[in-house]
């Protein structure tokens, strides 16, 4: 792929900018010699048509939810309503500076306050912060809250470990470790759920908490959830719920009723805000009563008809975002909640879970299903045993030839050759059926013509890429001649 650097010519411009009225030299003199830039940065020099064609061309090499079915497990790649994009770009939102006075930002504070109220209601929990910029940032904030809570109670450094089921998303252990906790892995049992005996063995006075994904990353609801949270609470620990999978029970159950102390939302999953090619998202965090005093400042308060910012929270962990979090993402999530209402939210979980179970039963005869039971919004197959030398990677790449984005692969780690499939609620049944047919066909090809899989993809913009080479011979920026 030629980069933008391969286009244009020296001296070309894409924008008509104002002229200076003073001499450039005179202005540059204001900067001390030693700090004045000597060499221009090597940036592209392109005309506007070249610029637009380049990025339009690049966009055509991409696959998004608007392109087709994107069953990337754990990521909830649902349709992103267009209304929300327009609303987020309203000048009353984009043009607003966060450091203006309270009086001048009432509309934005209304958005934050309303969204906060709805999210608290959805979680069934009394406290919230909207500051975390993504799910993992919410996790880290949650770990900071746990730390502050035990610090305040004088239980540090004793409470130094966080329990993590071995099915947890990679961000969970990474967040716990980043906050300075020791991560202790809890095995899953044959049902794909937390092994209660193993959990009990690890519950002692050094436990700060547990991080649970609900439903877990196998797409299975922890049937012992109430028992688990009760045991952890009895041991004096706190229960963190990773809510990235809320699509599975939206409008039907609340983490607050399951014993959660901290729960993060992924607005860029459950609440339909787009993933942006990797971000930005938003990871609001709801908390139980005992943790409310420790939430980040400022807190948004409603006083009659006015909104106000409260910084007077002496036990707060402080800020985790320089302003209020990813505001424009929140605008989209609020629009989504308002459009759906209670009934629409119930429909989301029903349709998402039904679609996942439908795919599960249609594929399980052909593919191994290590945990064969009712699933929630997703399920995990294994690519093992399809044919001599066939790996899950090959199946994924072959799906590209059939016009689909592959599922999440090699995660969760507890399933060998995992294929994690999450259809979401926004796919027509015809699409689900075509996907099944492609999966079944690929299983057949694995026996009859394995080279088709091994050499896939055949009709993507590029053939299979050499990932090892990018590490062996790293080229991580344009190597300009003479560099």
């Amino acid at each position: 792929m030629p980069t933008i650097y391969a286009r244009g010519q020296k001296g070309r411009k894409a924008l008509a900018l104002p002229n200076l009225s003073r001499k450039e030299e005179e202005l540059l003199q204001k900067i001390p010699e030693g700090m004045r830039r000597k060499e221009s940065p090597r940036l592209p020099e392109v005309s506007q048509p070249e610029l637009i064609r380049h990025y339009t061309h690049l966009s055509c090499l991409n696959y998004g939810v608007d392109t087709g079915f994107y069953p990337l497990g754990s990521c909830t790649m649902k349709y992103n309503p267009k209304l929300h994009e327009d609303l987020a770009w309203l000048p009353g939102f984009t043009g607003l500076h966060p450091l203006l006075s309270e009086e001048e930002i009432q509309g934005a504070l209304a958005v934050l306050w309303e969204l906060s109220e709805y999210l608290k209601g959805i979680a069934g929990m009394p406290g919230i912060t909207l500051q975390p910029a993504a799910g993992a940032h919410g996790e880290l904030t949650g770990m900071f809250l746990i730390k502050r809570y035990f610090e305040d109670r004088g239980e540090l450094p004793r409470r130094e470990k966080i329990l993590l089921p071995d099915s947890a998303h990679g961000t969970n252990p990474a967040s716990a470790a980043m906050a300075g906790f020791r991560v202790v892995s809890i095995p899953s049992d044959r049902r794909g759920m937390v092994d209660l005996d193993a959990l009990k063995r690890n519950l002692d006075e050094t436990v700060a908490g547990i991080m649970l994904t609900v439903p877990n990353t196998l797409g299975i609801f922890e049937e012992d959830i109430l028992e688990i949270t009760k045991l952890v609470h009895e041991a004096g620990g706190l229960c963190y719920f990773d809510g990235a999978n809320l699509n599975a029970f939206l409008g039907r159950a609340r983490p607050g009723d399951m014993g959660a102390d901290i729960f993060h939302f992924n607005l860029h999953k459950t609440f339909s805000t787009p993933h942006g090619g990797g971000g930005p998202g938003a990871g609001p965090l709801a908390v139980s009563e005992p943790l409310v005093p420790y939430l980040p400042v400022p807190e948004i308060v409603k006083d009659g008809e006015k909104f106000r910012l409260n910084y007077d929270k002496p036990k707060s962990i402080g800020r985790v975002h320089p302003y209020f979090g990813n505001f424009l993402v929140m605008v989209k999530a609020l629009a989504y909640i308002l459009t759906l209402g209670d009934e629409g939210m119930r429909e989301v979980s029903a349709a998402a879970v039904l679609a996942a179970n439908y795919l599960r039963v249609r594929l399980k005869g052909t593919y191994k299903l290590p945990y064969d039971r009712l699933c929630k919004h997703e399920f995990v197959l294994s690519g093992e045993g399809l044919g001599e030398g066939i790996r899950t990677l090959d199946i994924a790449k072959r799906l590209i030839d059939y016009g689909f984005h592959p599922p999440t692969i090699y995660f969760p780690l507890i399933v060998r050759e995992a294929l994690m499939i999450e259809p979401t609620e926004t796919e027509p049944k015809e699409v689900l059926d075509t996907f099944c047919e492609a999966m079944l066909k690929i299983a057949e090809e694995a026996r009859t013509n394995p080279a088709l899989l091994k050499e896939a993809p055949h009709n993507a913009p590029v053939r299979r890429l050499d990932e090892a080479r990018a590490v062996r011979q790293p080229i991580l920026r344009e190597p300009f001649p003479g560099n």
């Binding site: 980069t3 004045r36 830039r37 990521c75 966060p98 001048e104 402080g318 991580l476």
Partner: protein
């Protein structure tokens, strides 16, 4: 059905019968009955699209602040965002995709990531850049964590001239890691004065230009720090005219990328810039795109060095970051490509020209003095005995600046902060000066 679910009654029946369940409720039998029973709805009816459009538009119009002329910067700046940026961002092949886990159908994302990394390296003078962090403040906090992993130490030296909002985020992370913030004072020029460097120093942070808008002298800092990290927090537009921190031996350069083609957006989403030396590549947080070839030898891009990341390395990862600020980094890429080297410099100089025009006029009014004598680009602090009153006067005229409360957090009394971008007009400058002139001489 809500408008985003395509299932018909018949589809639902067919799928239920394939699954062998009588009804939709049966799909949720694994959630403890007690939990389901306790559920309470929000009491929200579904709304039509016109209603939602009107309602949210109404909220957007309730903030009077957008009507003010923004001479308010203090970390986020009202630069011109060329329409080319929005048009590229609105290609839904970009914005409805996710992290490029499947490179063969993500070459669009991976290619612009590579371009972005190149541009960030060029601006900062560093060898390697990641594909974005959430914002400048968390990028800075992550740089400090990386310094601790690399060189150890406990003391994080932070000038009082660091943006106070950024400092507050940093303080949270520093507390959690058991590190310690050590204040570095500034002189009457507004520049940091580094006297002694504690034994257990992990890193020194320098904001360039600093919160007061003053240009810091980066020379000889790294020599004095030894192995402790020099972390420079930059405004990337200023790098159009300032020597890149890489030239001064910076170990990590981070910064707030909002100025590169993103609107103010009430402070989010933002763009965290992160660049470092090649020797620290394996300690760096975040995603990186690398050039490689496909099975037929054709050039292409993949995510490289993923073994640093949480999805592979879990608790041993260099960071927990997963979702980042990709689309904002795309905005920055398009913005910088549209400007080119001359355009970037022009934006910085135009802002400087207007800022210096305004500063000269304000400081010719009796009673108004520069808070600091050091060199500045396009933001400066104004001292005035009744700073609050001056700010109120400006508000009445429809002008927003950063008020005294923010500067007080940095130990500056009776002053306000003025930022000027290329968007400000001569008429707006006139209005600014006129509004203050009635107060002139009040000492």
């Amino acid at each position: 059905m809500n408008p985003y679910i395509p299932h018909t009654r018949r589809d639902i029946e067919e799928m239920l019968s394939a699954v062998g369940l009588p009804d939709v409720e049966a799909l949720f039998s694994d959630i403890p009955e007690e939990v389901r029973r306790r559920f309470q709805p929000l009491g929200l009816p579904p709304r039509d699209e016109i209603w939602v459009h009107r309602y949210i538009t109404g909220l957007s119009q309730r903030s009077t602040g957008t009507k003010l002329i923004p001479f308010l910067g203090a970390g986020l700046y009202d630069h011109y965002v060329p329409p080319v940026v929005g048009h590229v961002l609105s290609r839904s092949e970009f914005y409805t995709a996710y992290t490029p886990y499947q490179p063969e159908i993500s070459q669009g994302t991976l290619t612009w990531m590579f371009e972005y990394q190149t541009m960030v390296c060029e601006l900062t003078g560093m060898e390697v850049a990641n594909a974005s962090m959430y914002d400048g403040a968390t990028a800075l906090a992550e740089a400090v964590y990386m310094a601790r992993r690399t060189v150890g130490g406990k003391a994080v030296l932070v000038p009082k001239s660091l943006n106070p909002n950024v400092r507050e985020v940093l303080a949270t992370y520093v507390w959690a890691a058991g590190l310690e913030l050590v204040d570095v004072p500034y002189d009457e020029q507004g520049q940091l004065t580094l006297s002694e460097i504690p034994e257990d120093t992990c890193a020194l942070i320098v904001q360039e230009p600093n919160f007061f808008g003053v240009v810091e002298d980066l020379s000889s800092l790294k020599e004095r720090l030894g192995k402790a990290f020099l972390i420079v927090y930059v405004n990337p537009i200023a790098l159009g005219v300032l020597e890149p921190p890489g030239k001064f031996g910076a170990d990590v350069v981070v910064g707030e990328g909002q100025v590169l083609g993103l609107p103010l957006s009430f402070g989010g989403p933002l763009l965290g810039i992160f660049a470092t030396k090649m020797e620290y590549l394996r300690r760096m947080p975040g995603r990186v795109s690398g050039r490689t070839v496909d099975a037929e030898g054709k050039e292409g891009y993949v995510m490289a060095f993923q073994t640093r990341e949480q999805h592979i390395r879990r608790e041993e990862a260099t960071s927990n970051i997963c979702t980042n600020s990709a689309l904002c980094a795309l905005a920055a890429t398009v913005y910088l490509a549209a400007l080119g080297p001359e355009g970037l410099k022009r934006i910085a100089l135009l802002s400087m020209e207007r800022a210096h025009d305004l500063a000269e006029r304000i400081f010719s009014l009796p009673g108004f003095r520069p808070a600091f004598s050091g060199p500045f680009l396009y933001e400066f602090a104004v001292s005035f005995s009744e700073a609050e009153r001056a700010v109120r006067k400006l508000r009445e005229a429809g002008i927003a600046v950063a008020g005294p409360a923010l500067l007080e957090k940095c130990g500056v009394k009776n002053a306000f902060l003025v930022a000027v971008t290329e968007k400000r007009t001569p008429e707006e400058l006139d209005l600014f000066v006129r509004s203050l002139s009635s107060l002139a001489g009040k000492e």
